[in-house]
Amino acid sequence: MAAKKLNMKDKYKMLTRDLDWEFSYQDRKEAFPYEEYEGIKITDWSKWEDPFRLTMDAYWKYQAEKEKKLYAIFDAFAQNNGHLNISDPRYVNALKVFLGGVTPVEYQAYQGFAHVGRQFGGVGARVACQMQSIDELRHVQTQIHAMSHYNKFFDGLHNWNGMQDKVWYMSVPTSFFHDARSSGPFEFLLAISFSFEYVLTNLLFVPFMSGAAYNGDMATVTFGFSSQSDEARHMTLGLEVIKFLLEQHEDNVPIVQKWVDKWFWRGTRVLGIVSMMMDYMLPNKVMSWREAWEIYFEQAGGALFKDLARYGIKPPKYVDIATAQMDHMSHQTWWNFYNFGEAAGFHTWIPSDKELDWLSEKYPQTFDKYYRPRWELAKKMEAEGKRFYSKGLPQLCNTCQVAMINTEVDDPTMLVYRSTEYKGEKYHFCSDGCHDIFVDEPEKFVQSWLPVHQILQGNCGGADLETVMREYYGMDVGVDNLDMKGSPDELRWKEWKSA
């Protein structure tokens, strides 16, 4: 008689929990040395279960199928000169930001999950983290492969890995992950699965990727959705771990709340760059940044926090401030890059009149009042041949490393400046959220590697910005940076299209 096929629950049990063993001659605490030092109390790991009940055999089977589908599309895209079908060459600049800002942190996610996939005491969580670790490595590889086609035809994609931890804006996501990876295993998991995955990747890999499709970029939308199908599993697993911690011991509740507060705020600061990609860098628009935030944070996050309320978890601190700032974030961020466009590794531009009208319509409370007049002035100056660039570099927040461009909620013409003193030194912050995070862990954040400070201290291989950009950042100065108008990217595009 043929063996009866196991049902999913039994199969999951056999291929995860039954692979574990008791420690007979080693001390379990020494085997899992990081498990207790954050103060988290676990009484029974066997209560944790993967809701997808994914086992290694099924994992390999379905991941292999995902990869085959994806690489067939990459081949078709490259063979058919897919880059010529995008809506507008300005769009490629969003990919330059993506490749430098996101792909390297996928690698850090891989490293972080390989670590916790060893360090959690519960075998179910360990297996899930090992799968996640492999997923994240897949994301790095598929993103590099997708972008390698663009690298043959556009500038600014050649040294993303050399730039990610050095350039004055790329250090924002890099330092987010350094912060998470140098935390304990439970804080790492909450930081990535809640803040980075539930909040950030849902905004970047869903509406932005839908936008990539709408702008004719078949390769990017395909890796984006393929990655996000893994992320859906990741954020679910992470939220299962959070619920599990809350159920295991009441002492865990205030610890989890503190991490929710910290990582929510850290996450919103990284979103600045995503907001400008949505509102300014997608020539064909799917939805505004504000609308995406409403759907993927206010609705989805609101539902999550109502669900967690039964454990005594409250919505994150400063959520009201973050939400108020969403009417300003993309405009302030893009304006900042337009100003410092000489020092950026991608091109910037003034939105077209049609795009300005779209922004006015999508941001009725703020755009005409605060931001449109700036663009009208920039347009006038450009028409007179006076496209301006701010010299030097902006001051950075000591916690999130974002340029200090944040404004007060009750007065959007006032920049937020918060500061504190620690051991005789003064530290500056973009927000109360970043101030509070520093004050809670000063010994960690005094070590922040702030790219602008580092240049001024002479640690970046040159006295002037141009030398730093050329030799330390590896940028092709005069080619990768400056305005889209007149760039080699734009000239080549015109040649291709007129041929």
């Binding site: 049902n7 999913m8 629950k9 809701p51 997808f52 009940r53 994914l54 099924a58 379905y62 199928e65 995902k66 589908k69 849902n202 890999f205 869903v206 990727m209 839908s210 936008g211 499709a213 709408y214 939308v221 959705f225 996000q228 199908s229 992320e231 859906a232 599993r233 679910t236 939220l239 799917v286 609705q299 989805a300 609101g302 539902a303 999550l304 109502k306 669900d307 039964r310």
Partner: protein, 89 residues
């Protein structure tokens, strides 16, 4: 009311999954966006293997859902017969 949601790639398999979802969850809201389909419902949404098999005309493993999935919101429960998303109130 808290909404659960699932987003699927707009491909040929998803067409039948969406039909099955609509049959088993009569109040769902289905939105078509570039390259994707977003489906949301109050508090709960279930995808039943039997219904998908009936629509697609072949055997369908619930885990195949991962091949068309983009993202989701809600507590997940999956076994060989169904995939369910829910919020607790």
């Amino acid at each position: 009311m808290n909404k659960v949601y699932i987003a699927l790639q707009d491909n040929d398999v998803s067409r039948y999954i969406v039909e099955a979802i609509e049959a088993d969850n009569p109040d769902v809201k289905v939105q078509y966006q570039p390259a994707m389909i977003r489906i949301e419902n109050d508090l709960q949404l279930t995808i039943k293997r039997e219904t998908v098999e009936e629509k697609i005309g072949r055997d369908w493993d619930v885990q195949e859902l991962h091949l068309s999935l983009i993202t989701l919101g809600g507590n997940v429960d999956e076994d060989e017969d169904a995939f369910t998303l829910s919020w607790n109130q």
